[in-house]
Amino acid sequence: MDNHLLIKENKPVAFSAETLETINQLSKRYPEGERKSILLPVLHMAQEELGGYLTIDILDYVASLVGISPVEVYEVATFYSMYYLDKVGKYVLEVCRTGPCAICGGERIADYLREVLKIKTGETTADGLFTLREVECLGGCGYAPVMQVNTEFYEYLTNEKVDKILSDLRAGAEKETDQQKRWVAQFSSQI
């Protein structure tokens, strides 16, 4: 648990029709009167589609969509580590810092990223491309060192591999597959 101040940007926010429909479908998975259960998935979609991090404007919008009070959304958004409450770059590099990765070179990977990106953990590069975070065990300890970039796994990291990942991301070619990796695209079994 970390402490956070929420950002307010006074920008209008709204989901696409497709996402609204997915949310509508998702809400049917939970019993009458338990609509609040969709909050975590909706916050994931909000962060992904509405700018990469969660502002008060977005949290209030989510509260109205889910039909709960804003404070119920704030207390959840501040609890979970995957929700970003600070401005982040286009790509969020989350390096695992926990024991099993650490004894397999994870700390050196974090050092290397700080060195080549010229930022400290928690900061964003001046070009707004990369934010570096250190996170706890990602459930990939046997493939250490591990990091996630926008929730995609990168494993068995070496300095050379990091160079390649960064240059690929800089080249920035949005692949078609990226669309299929969005949260809305995951919930395919809707009934």
């Binding site: 648990m1 970390d2 998975r29 019993p31 338990e34 609040k36 259960s37 969709i38 909050l39 975590l40 998935p41 916050l43 994931h44 889910v66 709960i68 119920e72 207390e75 959840v76 609890f79 979970y80 580590s81 995957m82 929700y83 810092r97 926990t98 024991g99 099993p100 650490a102 004894i103 397999c104 996170v135 706890e136 065990c137 990602l138 459930g139 990939g140 300890c141 046997g142 493939y143 250490a144 996630q148 929730t151 995609e152 796994f153 299929q180 990796k181 949260w183 695209a185 995951q186 919930f187 395919s188 079994s189 009934i191």
Partner: protein
Amino acid sequence: MGSSILLANIGVPGIRNLKAYRASGGYSAVEKALREMTPAQVAQEVTRSGLRGRGGAGFPTGLKWSFLDRKTDKPRYLVCNADESEPGTFKDRFLMDKIPHLLIEGLILSSYALGVNNCYIYIRGEFKYLVGILEKAIREAHQNRFLGEKILGSDFSLNIFVHPGAGAYICGEETALLESLEGKRGNPRIKPPFPAFKGLYGCPTVVNNVETLATVGPIISMGGEEYAKIGKGKSTGTKLISACGNINNPGVYEIEMGLLLDDFIYSPAYCGGIAKGKKLKAVIPGGSSVPILPADLILRTLNGQKRLMTYESLAEGEFASGTMLGSGGFIVFDEDACIVRNTWNLTRFYRHESCGQCSPCREGTSWMENVLYRLEHGSGKLSDIDLLVRVAKNIEGNTICPLGDAAAWPVASAIRHFRHEFEEHVKNA
């Protein structure tokens, strides 16, 4: 001891899809159960199998199911715990990725046994890619009438839904998980009431681990008694072990319970020995929460018995000289690993993941982290070592949920077995 039950078919091409899964005998346990068995008979086979919870605590699954409140007219729920956040543990991810239908089949059988019509898979949000894989498996199961209304023409109906978390180790604790599934912060609940009476949405609920539930299919196929013949004593069947750290072959292995620890570490079929030809220093065999043991004590018990991969053998000697099988997250340290640094690292993890509800855990984990930080970074005092022991003792048993114990044990056991290393850190500072 190369017994393979859960992972037997992962090499079959296309096994992620229903067609290939079916072709290799998949869903025949569901057909058998729905056509030939009552729900009580399914539950009885699970009891007979001796299956114990694979999430960490090793509680007998059949017994847990028997506690479920069947007297109310409220709906009952089954929740599959796919939070998998215990450092060292990455077996459920492997299983769901390689053979998702095995979990779906287990969920159908378990729901049938428990009289459940809605089942949720709570999966950690970082496993986003698995959400899509599981959802696809569920869709296929619906299309083939293994899910939905009146499954295979029976009176039994079931829906399974995947629900992502959002990054919080504590949500693996079953009551925190239920809070999270209800759209709240993951604060563990005070027990009692237990989930079997008041769980999800205040209704009777069973929470089981992915691996536990995936094992139900094979148990129904072969029969509980046959399953119980595999393994050793009260540790029946097979167990997925996720091996990591300084070994030659990190990865997920299915072992028959009773395998020699020695074989698991050194055989080329498993860990393949210590990486770079180094010597074994220590092992945390069941996820970061269980006690660490030095090489001699992990290979043999204090009275010289070779240790086995079973719940009982690993626990032999209790906390003085034993540990636990836990989740099967097997972390191996070579001679170069620094126990003080690792203990500081893991304590930082527990401090970060404490939900903050109870003071012994919230304050105790930060305090231990601070003390360990100064020991590791050269400004510790000898008295800090006993201070850590005291703080750990004061957390243990004094908290709402077992995260407090999970934070205390690694510190207590590291000092118990490696006190000299802590002392050297002070002397060499």
